[in-house]
Point group: C2
Chain length 302, copies 2
Protein backbone atom coordinates (compact mmCIF):
# COMPACT_ATOMS: atom_id res chain seq x y z
CA UNK A 1 0.00 0.00 0.00
CA UNK A 2 1.25 3.44 -0.86
CA UNK A 3 -0.30 5.84 1.62
CA UNK A 4 -1.38 6.17 5.20
CA UNK A 5 -4.91 7.07 4.04
CA UNK A 6 -5.11 3.73 2.25
CA UNK A 7 -3.85 1.83 5.30
CA UNK A 8 -6.38 3.52 7.53
CA UNK A 9 -9.18 2.94 5.04
CA UNK A 10 -8.22 -0.73 4.88
CA UNK A 11 -8.23 -1.06 8.66
CA UNK A 12 -11.53 0.82 8.87
CA UNK A 13 -13.21 -1.54 6.39
CA UNK A 14 -11.91 -4.55 8.27
CA UNK A 15 -13.02 -3.19 11.65
CA UNK A 16 -16.57 -2.73 10.35
CA UNK A 17 -18.86 0.04 11.46
CA UNK A 18 -19.04 0.65 15.16
CA UNK A 19 -22.12 -1.13 16.45
CA UNK A 20 -24.22 -0.44 19.49
CA UNK A 21 -22.43 -0.08 22.79
CA UNK A 22 -21.45 3.54 22.99
CA UNK A 23 -19.01 4.14 20.11
CA UNK A 24 -20.61 7.00 18.16
CA UNK A 25 -17.66 7.73 15.86
CA UNK A 26 -14.97 5.17 15.06
CA UNK A 27 -11.96 5.28 12.74
CA UNK A 28 -11.61 8.28 10.43
CA UNK A 29 -11.78 11.47 12.47
CA UNK A 30 -9.31 13.19 14.79
CA UNK A 31 -10.79 11.32 17.75
CA UNK A 32 -13.10 8.39 18.38
CA UNK A 33 -16.28 9.44 20.21
CA UNK A 34 -17.75 7.32 23.02
CA UNK A 35 -21.08 8.04 24.69
CA UNK A 36 -21.26 6.66 28.26
CA UNK A 37 -24.67 5.40 29.36
CA UNK A 38 -26.75 8.11 30.93
CA UNK A 39 -24.03 10.77 30.74
CA UNK A 40 -24.57 14.29 29.43
CA UNK A 41 -21.09 14.31 27.93
CA UNK A 42 -19.41 12.54 25.02
CA UNK A 43 -15.85 11.33 25.48
CA UNK A 44 -13.15 11.79 22.84
CA UNK A 45 -10.20 9.42 22.46
CA UNK A 46 -7.07 9.89 20.43
CA UNK A 47 -3.78 8.02 20.37
CA UNK A 48 -0.43 9.11 18.92
CA UNK A 49 2.96 7.46 18.73
CA UNK A 50 6.33 9.19 18.86
CA UNK A 51 9.20 6.95 17.78
CA UNK A 52 12.98 7.42 17.93
CA UNK A 53 14.57 8.07 14.52
CA UNK A 54 11.11 8.40 12.96
CA UNK A 55 9.60 11.35 14.85
CA UNK A 56 12.65 12.49 16.83
CA UNK A 57 16.38 11.86 17.36
CA UNK A 58 17.98 11.46 20.74
CA UNK A 59 20.86 13.77 19.83
CA UNK A 60 18.70 16.72 18.80
CA UNK A 61 15.56 16.35 20.94
CA UNK A 62 15.77 16.62 24.71
CA UNK A 63 13.74 14.28 26.89
CA UNK A 64 11.50 17.11 28.12
CA UNK A 65 10.79 18.14 24.52
CA UNK A 66 9.85 14.59 23.53
CA UNK A 67 7.51 14.31 26.54
CA UNK A 68 5.90 17.66 25.78
CA UNK A 69 5.34 16.85 22.12
CA UNK A 70 4.05 13.34 22.80
CA UNK A 71 1.19 14.86 24.76
CA UNK A 72 0.79 17.96 22.57
CA UNK A 73 -0.11 15.86 19.53
CA UNK A 74 -3.07 14.24 21.33
CA UNK A 75 -4.20 17.53 22.87
CA UNK A 76 -4.23 19.04 19.39
CA UNK A 77 -6.69 16.33 18.26
CA UNK A 78 -8.91 17.10 21.26
CA UNK A 79 -8.70 20.82 20.37
CA UNK A 80 -9.75 20.09 16.77
CA UNK A 81 -13.04 18.61 17.98
CA UNK A 82 -13.63 21.41 20.49
CA UNK A 83 -13.12 19.22 23.55
CA UNK A 84 -11.73 19.72 27.03
CA UNK A 85 -8.93 17.29 27.97
CA UNK A 86 -9.74 15.02 30.95
CA UNK A 87 -6.87 12.56 31.37
CA UNK A 88 -4.03 10.86 29.51
CA UNK A 89 -2.22 7.50 29.46
CA UNK A 90 1.42 6.99 28.50
CA UNK A 91 2.98 3.78 27.16
CA UNK A 92 6.74 4.14 27.14
CA UNK A 93 9.14 1.70 25.48
CA UNK A 94 12.50 2.50 27.05
CA UNK A 95 15.68 1.99 25.00
CA UNK A 96 18.87 0.86 26.74
CA UNK A 97 20.49 4.26 26.20
CA UNK A 98 17.70 6.00 28.13
CA UNK A 99 18.40 5.97 31.84
CA UNK A 100 16.48 7.24 34.83
CA UNK A 101 17.37 10.83 34.03
CA UNK A 102 16.00 10.65 30.50
CA UNK A 103 12.79 8.98 31.63
CA UNK A 104 12.35 11.56 34.39
CA UNK A 105 12.83 14.34 31.85
CA UNK A 106 10.29 12.78 29.51
CA UNK A 107 7.58 12.67 32.17
CA UNK A 108 8.54 16.14 33.40
CA UNK A 109 7.98 17.55 29.90
CA UNK A 110 4.65 15.80 29.45
CA UNK A 111 3.44 16.75 32.92
CA UNK A 112 4.37 20.40 32.48
CA UNK A 113 2.05 20.62 29.50
CA UNK A 114 -0.53 18.48 31.32
CA UNK A 115 -0.65 20.88 34.26
CA UNK A 116 -1.11 23.80 31.91
CA UNK A 117 -3.92 22.02 30.07
CA UNK A 118 -5.44 20.75 33.34
CA UNK A 119 -5.41 16.99 32.88
CA UNK A 120 -3.88 14.24 35.07
CA UNK A 121 -1.77 11.26 34.00
CA UNK A 122 -4.06 8.33 34.82
CA UNK A 123 -1.97 5.31 33.85
CA UNK A 124 0.10 3.60 31.20
CA UNK A 125 2.63 0.90 30.53
CA UNK A 126 6.44 0.64 30.54
CA UNK A 127 8.62 -1.90 28.75
CA UNK A 128 12.14 -2.33 27.44
CA UNK A 129 12.78 -1.87 23.74
CA UNK A 130 15.65 -1.39 21.28
CA UNK A 131 14.51 2.06 20.19
CA UNK A 132 12.66 4.51 22.35
CA UNK A 133 9.00 4.88 21.54
CA UNK A 134 5.90 6.15 23.24
CA UNK A 135 2.21 6.09 22.64
CA UNK A 136 0.01 8.67 24.35
CA UNK A 137 -3.76 8.37 24.66
CA UNK A 138 -5.71 11.49 25.51
CA UNK A 139 -9.34 11.48 26.66
CA UNK A 140 -11.37 14.66 26.26
CA UNK A 141 -14.99 15.53 26.74
CA UNK A 142 -17.70 17.85 25.50
CA UNK A 143 -21.48 18.14 25.74
CA UNK A 144 -23.27 15.26 24.04
CA UNK A 145 -23.48 15.48 20.27
CA UNK A 146 -21.52 18.73 19.89
CA UNK A 147 -18.12 17.51 18.62
CA UNK A 148 -16.62 19.38 15.68
CA UNK A 149 -16.16 16.84 12.91
CA UNK A 150 -14.14 16.72 9.70
CA UNK A 151 -17.27 15.85 7.80
CA UNK A 152 -19.40 18.94 8.40
CA UNK A 153 -18.10 21.30 5.68
CA UNK A 154 -20.69 22.46 3.07
CA UNK A 155 -20.34 24.33 -0.25
CA UNK A 156 -19.96 28.04 0.40
CA UNK A 157 -18.35 27.61 3.82
CA UNK A 158 -15.26 29.75 4.33
CA UNK A 159 -11.99 27.93 5.06
CA UNK A 160 -9.76 29.32 7.82
CA UNK A 161 -6.44 28.50 9.44
CA UNK A 162 -5.15 29.68 12.78
CA UNK A 163 -1.67 31.19 13.10
CA UNK A 164 0.99 31.03 10.41
CA UNK A 165 2.12 27.85 8.72
CA UNK A 166 5.47 26.28 7.92
CA UNK A 167 7.22 27.18 11.17
CA UNK A 168 7.71 23.60 12.29
CA UNK A 169 9.18 22.49 8.94
CA UNK A 170 11.43 25.54 8.90
CA UNK A 171 12.57 24.80 12.45
CA UNK A 172 13.34 21.19 11.59
CA UNK A 173 15.60 22.44 8.78
CA UNK A 174 17.33 25.13 10.85
CA UNK A 175 17.68 23.17 14.10
CA UNK A 176 17.69 26.39 16.14
CA UNK A 177 15.87 29.64 16.87
CA UNK A 178 12.17 30.33 17.43
CA UNK A 179 11.08 28.08 14.54
CA UNK A 180 12.98 25.15 16.09
CA UNK A 181 11.26 25.87 19.42
CA UNK A 182 7.96 25.81 17.59
CA UNK A 183 8.87 22.41 16.15
CA UNK A 184 9.88 21.08 19.56
CA UNK A 185 7.05 22.50 21.65
CA UNK A 186 3.84 22.98 19.70
CA UNK A 187 1.01 24.72 21.57
CA UNK A 188 -2.26 22.82 21.21
CA UNK A 189 -5.08 25.26 20.37
CA UNK A 190 -7.47 24.06 23.07
CA UNK A 191 -9.14 27.38 23.89
CA UNK A 192 -9.54 28.15 20.19
CA UNK A 193 -11.14 24.75 19.55
CA UNK A 194 -13.71 25.35 22.27
CA UNK A 195 -14.38 28.83 20.89
CA UNK A 196 -14.98 27.40 17.40
CA UNK A 197 -17.48 24.88 18.79
CA UNK A 198 -19.25 26.96 21.44
CA UNK A 199 -19.26 30.48 20.04
CA UNK A 200 -18.40 30.59 16.38
CA UNK A 201 -20.39 27.58 15.23
CA UNK A 202 -17.69 26.22 12.91
CA UNK A 203 -19.00 23.53 10.55
CA UNK A 204 -15.85 21.35 10.45
CA UNK A 205 -12.33 21.29 11.87
CA UNK A 206 -9.15 19.29 12.11
CA UNK A 207 -5.66 19.96 13.32
CA UNK A 208 -2.75 20.55 10.94
CA UNK A 209 -0.50 17.66 11.86
CA UNK A 210 0.60 16.36 8.45
CA UNK A 211 0.56 19.52 6.32
CA UNK A 212 -2.21 21.73 4.93
CA UNK A 213 -2.33 19.99 1.53
CA UNK A 214 -2.91 16.55 3.05
CA UNK A 215 -5.08 17.64 5.97
CA UNK A 216 -7.38 19.82 3.82
CA UNK A 217 -7.73 16.87 1.46
CA UNK A 218 -8.81 14.75 4.44
CA UNK A 219 -11.38 17.35 5.48
CA UNK A 220 -12.72 17.49 1.90
CA UNK A 221 -12.86 13.69 1.62
CA UNK A 222 -14.74 13.41 4.94
CA UNK A 223 -17.15 16.18 3.91
CA UNK A 224 -17.42 14.88 0.30
CA UNK A 225 -16.57 18.33 -1.11
CA UNK A 226 -13.86 20.22 -2.98
CA UNK A 227 -11.92 23.25 -1.77
CA UNK A 228 -10.38 26.31 -3.46
CA UNK A 229 -7.73 28.18 -1.51
CA UNK A 230 -5.01 30.75 -1.90
CA UNK A 231 -1.63 30.74 -0.13
CA UNK A 232 -1.94 30.50 3.67
CA UNK A 233 -0.15 32.98 5.95
CA UNK A 234 3.54 32.01 6.19
CA UNK A 235 5.56 31.67 9.35
CA UNK A 236 8.36 34.28 9.16
CA UNK A 237 11.12 32.79 7.00
CA UNK A 238 9.12 29.74 5.91
CA UNK A 239 8.60 28.92 2.24
CA UNK A 240 5.21 28.31 0.65
CA UNK A 241 6.17 24.64 0.26
CA UNK A 242 6.85 24.36 4.00
CA UNK A 243 3.50 26.01 4.78
CA UNK A 244 1.58 23.76 2.37
CA UNK A 245 3.27 20.41 2.96
CA UNK A 246 5.44 20.75 6.04
CA UNK A 247 3.28 19.33 8.77
CA UNK A 248 3.49 19.49 12.57
CA UNK A 249 2.26 23.07 12.83
CA UNK A 250 -0.62 21.92 15.06
CA UNK A 251 -2.69 24.91 14.08
CA UNK A 252 -6.42 24.40 13.42
CA UNK A 253 -7.97 24.20 9.97
CA UNK A 254 -11.69 24.92 10.10
CA UNK A 255 -14.70 25.89 8.04
CA UNK A 256 -17.38 28.43 8.86
CA UNK A 257 -20.85 28.78 7.26
CA UNK A 258 -21.02 31.76 4.89
CA UNK A 259 -23.42 33.70 7.12
CA UNK A 260 -20.93 33.66 10.03
CA UNK A 261 -17.69 35.56 10.35
CA UNK A 262 -14.60 34.59 12.33
CA UNK A 263 -12.79 37.36 14.21
CA UNK A 264 -9.34 38.38 12.88
CA UNK A 265 -7.76 37.11 16.10
CA UNK A 266 -8.56 34.85 19.01
CA UNK A 267 -6.43 35.10 22.17
CA UNK A 268 -3.58 36.60 20.16
CA UNK A 269 -3.69 33.96 17.40
CA UNK A 270 -4.59 35.20 13.92
CA UNK A 271 -7.50 33.53 12.12
CA UNK A 272 -7.13 33.83 8.35
CA UNK A 273 -9.65 33.04 5.64
CA UNK A 274 -7.76 31.13 2.94
CA UNK A 275 -10.61 30.04 0.67
CA UNK A 276 -13.96 28.31 0.40
CA UNK A 277 -15.57 24.89 0.16
CA UNK A 278 -17.02 24.19 -3.30
CA UNK A 279 -19.12 21.53 -4.94
CA UNK A 280 -16.83 19.18 -6.83
CA UNK A 281 -14.98 15.88 -6.73
CA UNK A 282 -14.59 14.85 -3.07
CA UNK A 283 -11.06 15.58 -1.87
CA UNK A 284 -10.03 17.94 -4.69
CA UNK A 285 -8.08 20.98 -3.51
CA UNK A 286 -7.27 23.90 -5.81
CA UNK A 287 -4.57 26.44 -4.96
CA UNK A 288 -5.01 29.66 -6.96
CA UNK A 289 -7.11 27.63 -9.39
CA UNK A 290 -4.61 24.80 -9.97
CA UNK A 291 -4.82 21.31 -8.41
CA UNK A 292 -2.76 21.02 -5.21
CA UNK A 293 -1.07 17.65 -4.66
CA UNK A 294 -1.45 16.23 -1.15
CA UNK A 295 2.26 16.08 -0.36
CA UNK A 296 2.00 16.38 3.40
CA UNK A 297 3.80 13.94 5.66
CA UNK A 298 2.83 10.33 5.05
CA UNK A 299 4.54 7.42 6.81
CA UNK A 300 3.59 5.01 4.10
CA UNK A 301 4.41 6.85 0.93
CA UNK A 302 6.58 4.57 -1.18
Amino acid sequence: MSSELEWIERIRRRAGLPRAGGVVVGIGDDCAIFRPRGAGEDLLFTTDMLIEDVHFHKNTHRATDVGWKALARGLSDIAAMGGTPRFFLVSLAVARWAGTRWVDGFYRGALRLARRAGLPLAGGDVARSEKLGCDVVVCGSLPRGTALRRSGARPGDAIYVSGRLGGSALGLRLGRGPAWQRHLRPEPRLALGRFLRERLGASAALDLSDGLSLDLRRLCLASKQSAAIEAPPLYPGATLDQALHGGEDYELLFTVPARKRAPAKFAGISLTRIGAIEKGPPGRVLLDGAPLAALGYDHFRL
Copy 2:
Protein backbone atom coordinates in the same frame (compact mmCIF):
# COMPACT_ATOMS: atom_id res chain seq x y z
CA MET B 1 16.39 1.73 38.79
CA SER B 2 16.19 -1.99 39.23
CA SER B 3 12.57 -2.97 38.87
CA GLU B 4 9.40 -2.14 37.02
CA LEU B 5 7.63 -1.60 40.38
CA GLU B 6 10.18 1.11 41.22
CA TRP B 7 9.76 2.79 37.81
CA ILE B 8 5.99 2.81 38.15
CA GLU B 9 6.19 4.10 41.72
CA ARG B 10 8.49 6.87 40.53
CA ILE B 11 6.12 7.85 37.71
CA ARG B 12 3.16 7.67 40.09
CA ARG B 13 4.80 10.05 42.58
CA ARG B 14 5.68 12.47 39.81
CA ALA B 15 2.19 12.35 38.31
CA GLY B 16 0.66 13.30 41.66
CA LEU B 17 -2.66 12.03 42.89
CA PRO B 18 -5.50 12.25 40.40
CA ARG B 19 -7.44 15.39 41.19
CA ALA B 20 -11.01 16.29 40.49
CA GLY B 21 -12.26 15.81 36.96
CA GLY B 22 -13.38 12.22 36.83
CA VAL B 23 -10.26 10.10 37.42
CA VAL B 24 -11.22 7.93 40.41
CA VAL B 25 -8.23 5.57 40.30
CA GLY B 26 -4.93 6.47 38.65
CA ILE B 27 -1.62 4.64 38.36
CA GLY B 28 -1.21 1.44 40.36
CA ASP B 29 -4.07 -0.94 39.57
CA ASP B 30 -4.86 -3.11 36.54
CA CYS B 31 -6.88 -0.27 35.03
CA ALA B 32 -7.42 3.43 35.58
CA ILE B 33 -11.02 4.26 36.52
CA PHE B 34 -12.82 7.27 35.05
CA ARG B 35 -16.29 8.42 36.15
CA PRO B 36 -18.12 10.36 33.42
CA ARG B 37 -20.36 13.18 34.64
CA GLY B 38 -23.87 12.00 35.37
CA ALA B 39 -23.25 8.43 34.18
CA GLY B 40 -24.26 5.34 36.11
CA GLU B 41 -21.18 3.51 34.93
CA ASP B 42 -17.48 3.78 35.63
CA LEU B 43 -15.07 3.37 32.72
CA LEU B 44 -11.89 1.27 32.96
CA PHE B 45 -8.79 1.99 30.86
CA THR B 46 -5.76 -0.17 30.37
CA THR B 47 -2.89 0.01 27.90
CA ASP B 48 -0.37 -2.68 26.96
CA MET B 49 2.54 -2.78 24.56
CA LEU B 50 3.72 -5.78 22.55
CA ILE B 51 7.18 -5.27 21.04
CA GLU B 52 9.17 -7.30 18.53
CA ASP B 53 12.10 -9.19 20.07
CA VAL B 54 10.87 -8.26 23.56
CA HIS B 55 7.41 -9.84 23.69
CA PHE B 56 7.46 -11.82 20.45
CA HIS B 57 9.65 -12.80 17.48
CA LYS B 58 8.59 -12.52 13.88
CA ASN B 59 9.91 -15.99 13.07
CA THR B 60 7.98 -17.81 15.78
CA HIS B 61 4.82 -15.72 16.21
CA ARG B 62 2.34 -15.38 13.37
CA ALA B 63 0.70 -12.02 12.71
CA THR B 64 -2.73 -13.31 13.80
CA ASP B 65 -1.24 -14.55 17.08
CA VAL B 66 0.41 -11.19 17.78
CA GLY B 67 -2.88 -9.39 17.08
CA TRP B 68 -4.84 -11.75 19.30
CA LYS B 69 -2.40 -11.45 22.19
CA ALA B 70 -2.08 -7.68 21.91
CA LEU B 71 -5.79 -7.39 22.65
CA ALA B 72 -5.96 -10.34 25.07
CA ARG B 73 -3.58 -8.64 27.50
CA GLY B 74 -5.83 -5.60 27.86
CA LEU B 75 -9.00 -7.69 28.06
CA SER B 76 -7.40 -9.64 30.89
CA ASP B 77 -6.95 -6.39 32.85
CA ILE B 78 -10.62 -5.54 32.27
CA ALA B 79 -11.55 -9.05 33.45
CA ALA B 80 -9.49 -8.61 36.63
CA MET B 81 -11.65 -5.64 37.65
CA GLY B 82 -14.90 -7.39 36.73
CA GLY B 83 -15.63 -5.14 33.76
CA THR B 84 -17.30 -5.54 30.39
CA PRO B 85 -15.14 -4.48 27.41
CA ARG B 86 -16.59 -1.59 25.37
CA PHE B 87 -14.04 -0.62 22.72
CA PHE B 88 -10.33 -0.70 21.90
CA LEU B 89 -7.71 1.43 20.15
CA VAL B 90 -4.63 0.09 18.37
CA SER B 91 -1.39 1.97 17.74
CA LEU B 92 0.76 -0.01 15.33
CA ALA B 93 4.40 0.77 14.52
CA VAL B 94 5.05 -1.13 11.30
CA ALA B 95 8.55 -2.45 10.61
CA ARG B 96 9.85 -2.54 7.03
CA TRP B 97 9.69 -6.35 6.97
CA ALA B 98 5.95 -6.28 7.72
CA GLY B 99 3.93 -5.90 4.54
CA THR B 100 0.23 -5.61 3.86
CA ARG B 101 -0.26 -9.31 4.49
CA TRP B 102 1.30 -9.19 7.94
CA VAL B 103 -0.66 -6.08 8.93
CA ASP B 104 -3.88 -7.67 7.67
CA GLY B 105 -3.16 -10.78 9.72
CA PHE B 106 -2.46 -8.71 12.81
CA TYR B 107 -5.82 -6.94 12.64
CA ARG B 108 -7.58 -10.20 11.74
CA GLY B 109 -6.22 -11.83 14.90
CA ALA B 110 -7.19 -8.90 17.11
CA LEU B 111 -10.64 -8.56 15.56
CA ARG B 112 -11.37 -12.28 15.91
CA LEU B 113 -10.93 -11.98 19.67
CA ALA B 114 -12.77 -8.63 19.65
CA ARG B 115 -15.84 -10.16 18.01
CA ARG B 116 -15.84 -12.95 20.56
CA ALA B 117 -15.56 -10.47 23.44
CA GLY B 118 -18.09 -8.10 21.83
CA LEU B 119 -16.09 -4.88 21.47
CA PRO B 120 -15.39 -2.74 18.37
CA LEU B 121 -12.10 -1.24 17.20
CA ALA B 122 -12.73 2.49 17.60
CA GLY B 123 -9.48 4.04 16.40
CA GLY B 124 -5.72 4.16 16.66
CA ASP B 125 -2.54 5.26 14.98
CA VAL B 126 -0.12 3.81 12.41
CA ALA B 127 3.52 4.76 11.83
CA ARG B 128 6.70 3.36 10.38
CA SER B 129 9.33 2.00 12.74
CA GLU B 130 12.48 -0.12 12.73
CA LYS B 131 10.98 -2.86 14.90
CA LEU B 132 7.36 -3.81 14.99
CA GLY B 133 5.49 -2.68 18.06
CA CYS B 134 1.94 -2.11 19.10
CA ASP B 135 0.11 -0.53 21.97
CA VAL B 136 -3.49 -1.52 22.63
CA VAL B 137 -5.86 0.47 24.82
CA VAL B 138 -8.99 -1.26 26.06
CA CYS B 139 -11.95 0.56 27.61
CA GLY B 140 -14.33 -1.41 29.81
CA SER B 141 -17.25 -0.47 32.00
CA LEU B 142 -19.08 -1.57 35.13
CA PRO B 143 -21.69 -0.10 37.49
CA ARG B 144 -20.37 2.91 39.36
CA GLY B 145 -18.11 2.13 42.31
CA THR B 146 -18.11 -1.65 41.88
CA ALA B 147 -14.65 -2.32 40.33
CA LEU B 148 -12.66 -5.17 41.84
CA ARG B 149 -9.42 -3.65 43.08
CA ARG B 150 -6.02 -5.01 44.06
CA SER B 151 -6.29 -3.22 47.36
CA GLY B 152 -9.36 -4.89 48.88
CA ALA B 153 -7.82 -8.04 50.45
CA ARG B 154 -8.19 -8.39 54.25
CA PRO B 155 -6.62 -10.81 56.77
CA GLY B 156 -8.45 -14.12 56.72
CA ASP B 157 -9.54 -13.82 53.08
CA ALA B 158 -8.94 -16.97 51.05
CA ILE B 159 -6.61 -16.67 48.03
CA TYR B 160 -7.70 -18.37 44.79
CA VAL B 161 -6.37 -18.83 41.29
CA SER B 162 -8.33 -19.81 38.21
CA GLY B 163 -7.08 -22.60 35.94
CA ARG B 164 -3.62 -24.13 36.10
CA LEU B 165 -0.42 -22.13 36.03
CA GLY B 166 2.84 -22.37 34.12
CA GLY B 167 1.38 -23.34 30.76
CA SER B 168 2.51 -20.21 28.98
CA ALA B 169 6.11 -20.49 30.25
CA LEU B 170 6.17 -24.17 29.35
CA GLY B 171 4.84 -23.38 25.87
CA LEU B 172 7.46 -20.71 25.34
CA ARG B 173 10.15 -23.31 26.12
CA LEU B 174 8.64 -26.03 23.94
CA GLY B 175 7.57 -23.88 21.00
CA ARG B 176 4.81 -26.34 20.06
CA GLY B 177 1.80 -28.26 21.31
CA PRO B 178 -1.14 -27.15 23.49
CA ALA B 179 1.10 -25.23 25.93
CA TRP B 180 2.53 -23.19 23.01
CA GLN B 181 -1.03 -22.48 21.84
CA ARG B 182 -1.79 -21.29 25.35
CA HIS B 183 1.20 -18.98 25.20
CA LEU B 184 0.15 -17.62 21.80
CA ARG B 185 -3.57 -17.25 22.40
CA PRO B 186 -4.45 -16.62 26.03
CA GLU B 187 -8.16 -16.56 26.85
CA PRO B 188 -9.07 -13.51 28.94
CA ARG B 189 -11.31 -14.55 31.85
CA LEU B 190 -14.01 -11.96 31.23
CA ALA B 191 -17.04 -13.99 32.34
CA LEU B 192 -15.19 -15.17 35.44
CA GLY B 193 -14.24 -11.59 36.35
CA ARG B 194 -17.86 -10.48 36.16
CA PHE B 195 -18.90 -13.50 38.24
CA LEU B 196 -16.33 -12.61 40.92
CA ARG B 197 -17.64 -9.06 41.11
CA GLU B 198 -21.39 -9.61 40.71
CA ARG B 199 -22.03 -12.97 42.36
CA LEU B 200 -19.14 -14.11 44.49
CA GLY B 201 -18.27 -10.79 46.10
CA ALA B 202 -14.50 -11.23 45.78
CA SER B 203 -12.56 -8.70 47.88
CA ALA B 204 -9.62 -8.20 45.48
CA ALA B 205 -8.38 -9.44 42.12
CA LEU B 206 -5.71 -9.04 39.47
CA ASP B 207 -4.68 -10.96 36.41
CA LEU B 208 -1.60 -13.18 36.33
CA SER B 209 0.44 -11.45 33.66
CA ASP B 210 3.92 -11.41 35.19
CA GLY B 211 3.92 -14.56 37.34
CA LEU B 212 2.16 -15.55 40.58
CA SER B 213 5.09 -14.58 42.81
CA LEU B 214 5.26 -11.01 41.47
CA ASP B 215 1.54 -10.48 40.98
CA LEU B 216 0.59 -11.79 44.44
CA ARG B 217 3.23 -9.47 45.88
CA ARG B 218 1.55 -6.58 44.03
CA LEU B 219 -1.86 -7.55 45.44
CA CYS B 220 -0.37 -7.73 48.96
CA LEU B 221 1.41 -4.38 48.58
CA ALA B 222 -1.78 -2.71 47.35
CA SER B 223 -3.80 -4.28 50.19
CA LYS B 224 -1.01 -3.69 52.77
CA GLN B 225 -1.10 -7.35 53.85
CA SER B 226 0.95 -10.56 53.74
CA ALA B 227 -0.01 -13.86 52.12
CA ALA B 228 0.68 -17.51 52.88
CA ILE B 229 0.18 -19.97 50.04
CA GLU B 230 0.96 -23.50 48.99
CA ALA B 231 1.85 -24.65 45.48
CA PRO B 232 -0.72 -23.60 42.86
CA PRO B 233 -2.24 -26.15 40.45
CA LEU B 234 0.27 -26.89 37.68
CA TYR B 235 -0.44 -26.89 33.98
CA PRO B 236 0.24 -30.46 32.72
CA GLY B 237 3.99 -30.75 32.20
CA ALA B 238 4.85 -27.39 33.80
CA THR B 239 7.32 -27.08 36.65
CA LEU B 240 6.58 -25.38 39.95
CA ASP B 241 9.03 -22.63 38.94
CA GLN B 242 7.12 -22.01 35.73
CA ALA B 243 3.85 -21.84 37.66
CA LEU B 244 5.25 -19.46 40.28
CA HIS B 245 7.37 -17.16 38.15
CA GLY B 246 6.54 -17.85 34.52
CA GLY B 247 4.04 -15.15 33.73
CA GLU B 248 1.60 -14.68 30.85
CA ASP B 249 -0.91 -17.24 32.10
CA TYR B 250 -3.63 -14.55 32.17
CA GLU B 251 -5.58 -16.46 34.79
CA LEU B 252 -7.19 -14.48 37.63
CA LEU B 253 -5.76 -14.26 41.14
CA PHE B 254 -8.44 -13.23 43.63
CA THR B 255 -9.33 -13.12 47.30
CA VAL B 256 -12.64 -14.05 48.92
CA PRO B 257 -13.83 -13.11 52.42
CA ALA B 258 -13.69 -16.12 54.79
CA ARG B 259 -17.49 -16.36 55.09
CA LYS B 260 -17.89 -16.90 51.33
CA ARG B 261 -16.98 -19.92 49.29
CA ALA B 262 -15.95 -20.04 45.64
CA PRO B 263 -17.31 -22.94 43.57
CA ALA B 264 -14.79 -25.59 42.44
CA LYS B 265 -15.38 -24.59 38.83
CA PHE B 266 -16.79 -21.72 36.82
CA ALA B 267 -17.68 -22.29 33.15
CA GLY B 268 -15.29 -25.23 33.01
CA ILE B 269 -12.37 -23.37 34.63
CA SER B 270 -11.17 -24.71 37.99
CA LEU B 271 -11.02 -22.28 40.92
CA THR B 272 -8.44 -23.40 43.48
CA ARG B 273 -7.86 -22.09 46.98
CA ILE B 274 -4.07 -21.74 47.36
CA GLY B 275 -3.83 -19.94 50.70
CA ALA B 276 -4.94 -17.00 52.79
CA ILE B 277 -4.22 -13.33 53.43
CA GLU B 278 -2.50 -12.71 56.78
CA LYS B 279 -1.54 -9.74 58.88
CA GLY B 280 2.14 -9.04 58.34
CA PRO B 281 4.65 -6.92 56.45
CA PRO B 282 2.96 -5.50 53.32
CA GLY B 283 3.97 -7.49 50.26
CA ARG B 284 5.41 -10.54 52.06
CA VAL B 285 4.47 -13.85 50.45
CA LEU B 286 5.19 -17.20 52.12
CA LEU B 287 5.14 -20.46 50.16
CA ASP B 288 4.77 -23.46 52.49
CA GLY B 289 6.01 -21.21 55.28
CA ALA B 290 9.17 -19.92 53.54
CA PRO B 291 9.55 -16.47 51.90
CA LEU B 292 8.82 -16.53 48.18
CA ALA B 293 10.99 -14.22 46.06
CA ALA B 294 9.08 -12.15 43.49
CA LEU B 295 10.88 -13.50 40.44
CA GLY B 296 8.11 -12.95 37.92
CA TYR B 297 8.78 -11.16 34.65
CA ASP B 298 10.21 -7.69 35.09
CA HIS B 299 11.36 -5.55 32.17
CA PHE B 300 13.64 -3.48 34.34
CA ARG B 301 15.41 -6.03 36.45
CA LEU B 302 19.15 -5.35 36.15
